[in-house]
Symmetry: C2
Subunit: 596 residues, 2 copies
């Protein structure tokens, strides 16, 4: 049976020791979460993940959701678990306190997200989509909308969804066909078909608030004519007492590769009553505001599945007796040594470990900056935080889910043939992890967003929010001999990243397809350097702790060991990636489309 | 609905134009397959794959096998399809003609294997395992065993299996517990439990011949005391008329990530009657002889699933309208351009294409050498062929399945969210492809075999069988300006490979864990260079054809385009891989096992 134990010590290391969030205690949002509150929330969250969600993970995978007579039934135990989960107040953890949320920082929500996604991704999405819908209502709703919907959604009494995709359009939403006809009472009548709606229907809450992108007839063509609407599954009176069903219904659920416990619905809108959220024709603007948080959340899913795959691979590697250590028998009293003695098994485990801890630090850094982008009182500092988040959000989404998927597979590989068998759980982590590379904008789209939108924005200003701290760190530690083993590989990788930026800027100016051709490899390179930066910073913290004296010597020594591994085995990728980026578009575009 | 069309033109290019098998017409085996026979077999094979096997691929995935009352039922249509398949003589295609096989070369069998695995891997395995069992009987059986079993198995009347793994041992078979007690009549009584037995039970043939590894009590300890036995599912008289069931039965079937249509069985042996195959205590020797062919076959599975994923990704990329080309609208009359206009989609398709064609050439080269290692009359030439096959077999198995799996995923990625939905087929290819990295020796084991066994063997003699032809090719074309764009990147990658070999040799001599720590990255590097070598050779053939004049200008031009892509985008990996290999074992081994 698979195991899961929330990595609380490492989370505390990242939050308190690496990012030192305590220093922001004077700022709003942060002031809600002093150190003891943070630790208590994480500890309670770990219990929920381990004890309530995780035991249902394989059940959800095996049973999946069922669709009968237009109704979705979630797997055995999900409904009861959701009741417990929402009673704990977890849906509204980082929600606006004015409307019943707990008002805690986003970085705490994403840490919780890692744990819930490790424990049960399919389950987490019912809550995660609700959080996302709340964020949109909070940012764009009228006072009336906020005070009506948010308390009911933060409490989990009602859940939420996001409706973007249609059968013929996903990335290119300008082709959208769903229509919203204005009605005399100020509402809209919405008709059309939406697909891939995660948590689109279920039996765990009495109402579902769909946020739906649709076009108001007569508006601007394409993406500029798209508006966002609130469309409840069930009508209610002003007190929230439920009445008749609205004109929206699930047409079917998809049979998917994974996240079987989450109902991915086709939703049919047939003159459903809806209300405008935000401004007419400004639906994409409303979506984009919440996209940073959503993409950060999806990035966490990649980390989460790598983490649980790692934990179970470690368990197996310590338990499975097969062959003998090349450096001499380690456990002579046993029939063989545990496979963790083998260097190639070590390579696999260290790859996962160095990714998990690096990605945890990176995503937390971004999450803290997301909070700072709202809380910072100094406008310059606030802008820098926002710039960083805006710039690296596609990297978090794409890099952490790409490498997270690879690591979920590496964990499976550690189990050999047993990894292929469902009961061990490893194949579920791989299958569940795969979705994160595809939804919320494919990873190719993330790379294009990074190269084509974020980097050129404001004459390259956003880049500085990442390049300055890396550059400063390298400068500050240039003469630190103890840090040289970390700083030198980082500096090498960073120099390559800068070369790639220069090449993309110069070539992309002449021919934007040159930049697009290098986008994915560049994104990978950026992510590799970003995690390398986090590792160098973590090594510095660990060295300081060891120098100051600590009773956790092993913990900090292991940080240094893992940092060394990352520098030796991961950072070198920047060299081949630079060669790929700068090889340009010609070899990609030369073949006639019909010849493929 | 997914499509599949066998890549016949490319197969003919590889067999006739690149490898020029016609020049071996004077040798046995090859003389059975003149050019027109090869083409006819491939064409018939393509029909079988496309028309009989492929239509059952999704059925097999969705239904899987069922196990009830000790009996396995295969998915709807499998039984009838197998009847057609065996009537076509496909099971014994490369079987010994003296015993009813068709006596065709292995390279033709592996080309057929690519097609059948693309079309329906789960189905192919019933036949593939039979072929493997036949090879063992042909190599080690007595005259009586051969003439009794082979005709019935080549015809597919009876199928075969290989029984190695037990619950507590897979890689380390020395721990085996299954026992074979000698009986007075010369047979053995076999008892024990075997797991992960592909095609271990089913309803498609009236008898199954299990080849079972077991220990004869009193024999040498560990792996040196293992013998191989023939154990039929059903007893028969000397004419092959079936009688009572033998003491072997399926205890259950596994629920797996993929290859759902193939029954992976737990087989319980309870005093089953069996007969020794080959010599007492020399079971592993018997297994190893057939392992080259088996691992080559598994390598083909990686290629096969990448190929079908590619074909369906191409179809989607030409069909799906989303966004506009960055270089200007391509199809103004449509709502959007097909996504194949986007450089990042091109990058994905070209990655798959260059891998597929490169791997097809590489595996065919190895397969031809496997035939030469048996057919060559000149002992020196025969030995070189055998050396090459022995050396690169782990590379074929590991590299082609590793990159094949990555490419199956890339194809899925091209479909965005639709790739995650089962009906599109892409997720099946990913799930099916995953097994090939795990079975027939995990890919980590392949890498260790390459670095720890193959490279040091005979003072490094095997390496020459690969290094000489590459070196010769580079020398021969050093002054060829037209070839410079291919030869230079190849030479760079090859030089790095040689550096890695030197490092591994030197360090591994002092500490074998140094070699083991670099094994997987080295194996990847070797595979990357090997495909690069094939691409350079293919480019040379294409240039010659174009220079000589041809009415297939596009075909050869496209070879050159794809070769350029491989050199620009794949060969650079050798630089980062070299850095990883030479970073050594320290960062892998430093962490205490308990600290993971």
């Amino acid at each position: 049976m698979p195991v899961y134990e929330a990595p609380l010590r490492d989370m505390r290391f990242v939050i308190h020791e690496l990012l030192e969030v305590d220093k922001y205690q004077n700022l709003p949002i942060f002031s809600e979460a002093p150190a003891d509150i943070i630790d208590a929330v994480l500890e309670e969250g770990a219990k929920v993940a381990q004890e309530i969600l995780f035991p249902l993970n394989q059940v959800g995978h095996e049973e999946g959701c069922t669709f009968k007579d237009g109704e979705v039934t979630t797997p055995t135990g999900f409904k009861e678990a959701f009741a417990e989960y929402r009673e704990g107040g977890w849906v509204g953890l980082a929600g606006n306190a004015e409307y019943g949320g707990q008002g805690l920082p986003v970085f705490l929500g994403t840490a919780m997200g890692e744990m819930t996604c490790s424990a049960n991704l399919a389950f987490e999405m019912y809550s995660g989509l609700t959080t996302g819908a709340c964020a949109a209502i909070d940012a764009h709703g009228t006072e009336e909308q906020k005070s009506f919907y948010l308390p009911r959604m933060y409490s989990g009494e009602w859940t939420g969804t996001m409706n973007l995709t249609e059968p013929h359009c996903g990335t290119d939403l300008g082709q959208m066909r769903t229509k919203a006809e204005p009605q005399d009472d100020g509402s809209y009548s919405i008709s059309g078909t939406k697909i891939f709606i995660s948590a689109g229907d279920h039996d765990m809450a009495e109402n579902i608030i769909h946020l739906v992108l649709a076009k108001i007839p007569g508006g601007p063509k394409g993406i500029k004519g798209v508006s966002l609407f609130i469309v409840p599954k069930v009508h209610s009176d002003s007190e929230g007492n439920l009445g008749e069903r609205n004109g929206v219904s699930a047409g079917s659920i998809e049979h998917k590769m994974g996240i079987n416990g989450n109902a991915t619905c086709v939703l049919n809108y047939d003159n459903a009553k809806g209300w405008l959220l935000g401004r007419e024709h400004k639906g994409m603007e409303a979506m984009f505001v919440m996209m940073n948080a959503a993409r950060l959340g999806v990035g966490m899913q990649g980390l989460a599945l790598s983490e649980i795959s790692y934990q179970n691979a470690v368990l197996y590697a310590n338990d499975r007796l097969q062959g003998r250590s090349l450096s001499g028998v380690k456990e002579p009293e046993k029939a063989a040594d545990p496979i963790i003695v083998h260097p190639d098994v070590r390579r696999m485990l260290m790859t996962m470990r160095s990714f998990n801890e690096g990605a945890r630090a990176f995503t937390a850094w971004v999450a803290v900056n997301l909070d700072l982008s709202r809380a910072e009182q100094n406008e310059e500092a606030r802008q820098v935080a926002e710039d960083l988040v805006t710039l690296v959000t596609p990297v978090v989404k794409a890099h952490v889910t790409d490498v997270g998927f690879e690591c979920a597979n590496i964990g499976q590989q550690c189990l050999g043939g047993h990894g292929y068998i469902r009961e061990h759980g490893m194949e579920q982590y791989v299958r569940d992890a795969r979705i994160a590379q595809l939804y919320e904008g494919t990873n190719g789209i993330q790379a294009l967003d990074l190269v084509g939108r974020k980097m050129p924005a404001h004459m390259g200003r956003l880049l500085r929010a990442f390049f300055h701290p890396v550059d400063n760190f390298i400068q500050e530690n240039a003469d630190n001999k103890e840090m040289a083993e970390f700083v030198m590989p980082l500096a090498k990788g960073f120099a390559r990243l800068q070369q790639a930026v220069a090449w993309l800027g110069e070539q992309g100016m002449k021919d934007v397809e040159q930049a697009a051709a290098g986008a994915t490899d560049f994104q990978r390179m950026f992510g590799t350097v970003a995690l390398g930066f986090m590792w160098a910073r973590m090594a510095k913290v660990a060295q300081a702790k060891l120098a100051a004296g600590t009773d956790e010597v092993d913990f900090y020594e292991n940080k240094l060991i893992t940092a060394r591994f990352y520098m030796a085995r991961m950072m070198p990728d920047t060299s081949s990636l630079l060669a790929k980026v700068t090889s340009g578009k010609d070899t990609l575009m030369a073949l006639d489309a019909a010849a493929f």
